[in-house]
């Protein structure tokens, strides 16, 4: 790279969040060219997976898959396959059919009460990836139950970040940082003359402090946490991340971070790890090389522990 590298920063609103790209290269024109293509791709993917757009591919799948096999575009099919696999590997902690539950909680947020047992049981009946069947030969999806709906809110940003990364690579960009909404990142190469892209994980209890600062290269990181979004009901607050198995908000973890080779993995895994807690996360990392995790856990009312799982140094529980 030239001694005075060109730099470009672009921002783009899509998928109800803000994407930002930082790009380095030796030719500003090339950065613009690649960034333009990348932003077009984000819009295209939004149109593909938005549940608010009734002409989207996801809306079509949700409307038809209970009646017939629906052929899926390869990129999206890969997302569904990975979601299914992760659902199995995490014992159901990650589930893209969780939307009926989300809706139940959103509704009760308005009324200020917790949804009652009947409502939850009803929503739980329609929540499970087990009702979603994929056929890789024909590249089709089929639901065996009416009322199942797929919502890629927990993985769509990762899908978009990976697609952007592929476009940047294909267009000769070797150094870039892709940020979806401040929670899902991909670090492509390194910034000029540095060992990696620096990412800080914010302390959910103290926004001025970082739990950890990492330097990333060719790696993705996502964080899930109850930073700003939680549900206030009756006398207490509930996190916005639901445990699809119990139908209730996941508790115990304050912040879950996943690191892996792709953003599809980390976006989904950070949610899964949040739900799984420390033991489940450890198990997953042990059987999946290339994945590691950072967890900030509440242990007792005033005790918080930071766990780093799968890093080179032996795992330690750091008290903070």
């Amino acid at each position: 790279m030239a001694s005075n590298p060109a730099f470009l920063e672009v921002h783009h609103r899509a998928m109800a969040t803000e994407f930002s790209l930082l790009l380095y290269g030796d030719n500003k024109a090339r950065l613009h060219w690649a960034a333009e293509l990348a932003l077009e791709e984000i819009d295209r993917l939004e149109h593909q997976i938005s549940v608010f757009d009734i002409t989207s591919e996801i809306s079509g799948i949700n409307a038809r898959a209970a009646q017939e096999e629906v052929i899926v575009e390869p990129g999206l099919f890969h997302v569904l396959q990975f979601s299914k696999q992760l659902h199995e590997e995490t014992g159901g902690a990650f589930d893209i059919t969780v939307h009926p539950l989300v809706r139940a909680w959103q509704f009760f947020r308005k009324t200020g009460t917790v949804p009652d047992a009947d409502t939850l049981a009803e929503a739980l009946l329609r929540t499970s990836m087990d009702h979603v069947h994929l056929n890789p030969e024909r590249r089709t999806v089929r639901f065996d139950l009416r009322g199942i709906e797929i919502n890629l809110g927990g993985i769509g940003k990762g899908y978009a970040v990976d697609a952007v990364t592929a476009i940047l690579r294909r267009n000769g960009i070797a150094s870039a940082f892709i940020n979806a909404g401040g929670s899902t990142f991909y670090a492509l190469g390194t910034p000029p003359e540095q060992e990696g892209w620096q990412v800080g994980i914010r302390d959910p209890l103290n926004p001025d402090r970082h739990l950890e600062i990492l330097h990333l290269m060719d790696r993705s990181l996502s964080t899930s946490g109850n930073y700003e979004r939680f549900i206030r009901a009756e006398t207490r607050t509930y996190g916005h991340i639901l445990n699809p198995r119990s139908g209730r908000p996941a508790e115990g973890v304050l912040s879950a971070t996943a690191l892996a080779p792709t953003a599809l993995e980390t976006d989904a895994l950070s949610t899964a790890f949040f739900v799984l807690g420390i033991e489940g996360t450890r198990k997953y990392c042990c059987s999946n090389a290339g994945v590691n995790a950072i967890q900030y856990i509440r242990e007792g009312s005033e005790r918080f522990q930071l766990y780093k799982i799968g890093f080179e140094k032996p795992e330690t529980g750091e008290e903070l």
Partner: protein, 475 residues
Amino acid sequence: MTQKMQSDRRDFMKTSGLLATAISLGAAPSITANAQDSGNLVKVGWIGTGGRGNHLMRKVVKLPNVKVTALCDLWPPNLEAGKGYCANPDVQTFQRHEEMLEKADIDCVVVTSPLHWHGRHSMAAMKAGKNVFCEKTMALTVEEANEMVKVSRETGKFLQVGLQRRYSPIYRKAVHMIYNEGLLGRITLIRCQWNRNYIWRRPHIGMDFPPGKEYDLVRQYYPDFEHWANWRMYWEYSGGLMTELGSHQLDVASWVLGCHPSAVVGVGGKDYWLDDREVFDNVNVIYEFKIEPNEQNRMAFFSSEPPDLVARYQGEEALRKLKTDPYVAKVVYTSIGANAHDGASEQIMGDRGTILLTTTKGLFFEEAAAPKLAWGDKAMSKAELAARAAAVITSGATHDLSMEPQEDQGQPFARPMVGMDFEDIELSDFFDCVRSGRQPYSDVIKGRNDAVMVLSANTAMMQNRRIELGPELYI
């Protein structure tokens, strides 16, 4: 308006939230989308795997029994991108379309190359015995468009032109309502625009063709990277805003009016984007459409009955003329690059109401009853006036105004099909036509007449004169 019609219309408004299914209109065959078991496998050869090509390809790979078996693009990175999207690891790739047509195992061809290639690519494909889907605008010159019609007739192969609004449930519903329900009455004006605040070029200043033999072919056809990447900016390759955007909307105008324009005037300029582009960034054209009464349009356009007082003032003769004589409707088209406020829409204005069309929504506004003459009964109060207008803005008051133009007015109608947008439908119908031998709805003739319309507007603007478009110009 008759009582009958009024009540039909109310019924329509009540049910308008329902899903619109395919509508057949006049000679338009019903368009079926979505059929899962749609017969034989169709093998596709694809020419031009750039932005549009890869976008449409990712729609085609969702269709049953369609397989992209060959790709052609002279730009290696785009060919590579196409390979990634076509869902066929065994796809054959070519840089020269001649070679693809000769060697590949294909049943039909999709052409998404830049405009100046449309004619050559489509004609070569038809001559090789393939039915063709070609993006709009069909050709860069009228002569070339005529040649394409000729080749289609001689080879017996069809050419579908990518005017996707023809396949939109919203647009089809609107046209149906205008003709079969007389919803708008006499249309005297269609106002359409596609306004953006956007440079409309791919940024790359200073980039050049990479070295290497694989770039020899592109070097042969384009003088430099800029002309390959930004072909839309140069008259040699494109007709600018008229062919790239206007083609869609003027096709809608001529569809709605059921005829072709008889004259066009226009003013264009390069006013804001002062780079080295040749094409206008500010086009404003007006077409005249001479509308003759016929069986199809009599109820829609020739049955207006102005209120009694007006009729008496104008006399019997004027009333008779309204029902029997041809009249001239105007279509005003604007496309600019430095203000996006109006976005893209077509506003169809009749004496009974207005339909505002966009690709995601159609809105209908009923006209208030014709006003009383000034010397008739009492003048209307401010409040009455306010109730009549769809939206009234008074100085000083605060209003919830939407970011989306016209959002806060009118009733939406006709939802699109779930999971399919108009491009999905257009493509799915193309492959149905390939299988069944049925002629496509957006066929070579519609494409050709659309090209005449937009290309003549460019001539009017460049030569700064009124262009007469006699009936002999149309097929």
